[in-house]
């Protein structure tokens, strides 16, 4: 009888635990299940109507059916307050736009920006994590919606200065800067702000021809390169096409940009 009561109590406790805890995900991270997904653009687009540049047209093709082992990824982008704690612990350089090296008032939860790839990488390493690969990031942004353009129902209404989103997508706000983390609705994996807030650094070098012969299992990107891949259209994008799940971009790893932030994986 006692054993039955103990068992019932254990079952109740287990049921009450959040899903993250049940999957053993570290705090603030989400487990993305192992499996295949289509990485890249798996459909044709109207080049002229969408005002795509030739590079954009080519570097996201062909789509490849890629298998990834299970991994964890941060539920939110790294915010200013998180980054300030890292600076305090390591003595690293604060983003140049922080007044006198301090977070501007009321900006504690804003996604951090103006950090270069090396600083983002150092942050993740210090937390016992790493930057996500490009493949992990793309699987994450899709939230289980394979071969779709966007991670939400509806599309994007491109604006001259910034995109607005149809129902279900990131809120149509005109901050002209990064928003607080968690400002936009989560995707199917429960990840926030993968699109619409800051562009995010990934661990991979960028090669526009990489998809032609990319490994189909746990791709880690090219061995070397000049630029690091960045993913996810940010707050300053003027074209809807840059908010697509498959959209790729790149940046000099030394560059600190007001539109680029990051999140970590494990």
């Amino acid at each position: 009888m006692n054993r039955l009561i103990v068992f019932a109590i254990l079952c109740s406790v287990c049921a009450a635990l959040p899903i993250a805890a049940q999957t053993g995900a570290p705090e603030g991270m989400v487990q993305i299940p192992a499996g295949e997904f289509w990485m890249g653009r798996a459909h044709a687009i109207d080049n002229d109507a969408d005002d795509n540049l030739p590079r954009v047209w080519r570097d996201d093709r062909p789509a490849n059916l890629v298998y990834l082992d299970a991994f964890y990824i941060d539920q939110y982008e790294v915010g200013n307050a998180d980054y300030a704690r890292f600076l305090e612990a390591t003595g690293a350089q604060a983003p140049w736009h922080w007044p006198e090296g301090e977070i501007a008032e009321g900006q504690e939860r804003q996604a951090v920006s103006n950090v270069n790839w090396f600083e983002a990488d150092a942050y993740c390493q210090a937390a016992g994590k790493r930057l996500p690969t490009e493949a992990e990031w793309e699987k994450g942004v899709r939230g289980g919606r394979d071969r779709e353009i966007y991670a939400w129902d509806g599309g994007v209404v491109a604006d001259e200065y910034r995109p607005t989103f149809e129902a279900g997508g990131p809120a149509a706000v005109s901050l002209n800067k990064a928003a607080a983390v968690g400002s936009y609705p989560p995707n199917g994996y429960g990840l926030y702000d993968m699109i619409g807030n800051v562009i995010e650094w990934t661990n991979d070098w960028y090669d526009r021809g990489y998809y032609a012969f990319m490994p189909k299992t746990n791709p880690q990107g090219p061995d070397d390169g000049l630029y690091k891949s960045t993913r996810g259209g940010g707050w300053a994008e003027g074209r809807g096409s840059k908010l697509a799940n498959y959209y790729r971009n790149f940046s000099d790893p030394d560059l600190r940009g007001s539109t680029i932030g990051f999140r970590c994986a494990q």
Binding site: W38, G40, R41, A42, A44, R58, R61, P62, A63, N64, L65, R208, G209, Y211, A212, F213, K216
Partner: protein, 194 residues
Amino acid sequence: MRWVIVSILITLLSVSGSQAQTSTEPPPAEPVLDPTLLGQEWVDRLNALGDWHITMDGREEGIDQVVDAFMEPLDPDVLVEVPPHDEKQIGPVMLIGTRQVRQWADKFARSNVEISYYLKRQTEKEVEGERMVYSKVLPWGGLGISFPIIADYAVREDRRRFMEVGAVFLQYGEDGKIQRFRLMQAEKEEVLDD
């Protein structure tokens, strides 16, 4: 007197010789790029990717040579578009530079046997089986050609045979090197025995 005649003759000969030397010779003819020959040559090199073999002791013999021959007419900065080369791919594949094209050619050679692409011929009245190669002199120099093809090949892994119709677009620079090519193939159809 004889001396005078000899000196006149010498003078005349030297004048006529110098005239012959200074006369403008026609410039050497520039090599003409024959569209049909170029198209046939490219298809021959593609078909030759199947001309290697595995020895009795399991060594691959001749594959580098056929790939080298395919690569030989390509410009180092060649830009190429080919169909997906993998069942786990969707969409056209862009190949940038000879490193990627060599990788593609090597995979193509290893994956297929009995490779037989040929220029589609068209018959019209008294003209029998003309290879329809279209060409255009490119505004920036060189020659662009295109032609319909029929592809007939078998997959090495399971020997299933396929046929496809398609088209090839080639751009040659003035040096005769291929700067761009595009191989387009429609959806493949399996060839079954009756």
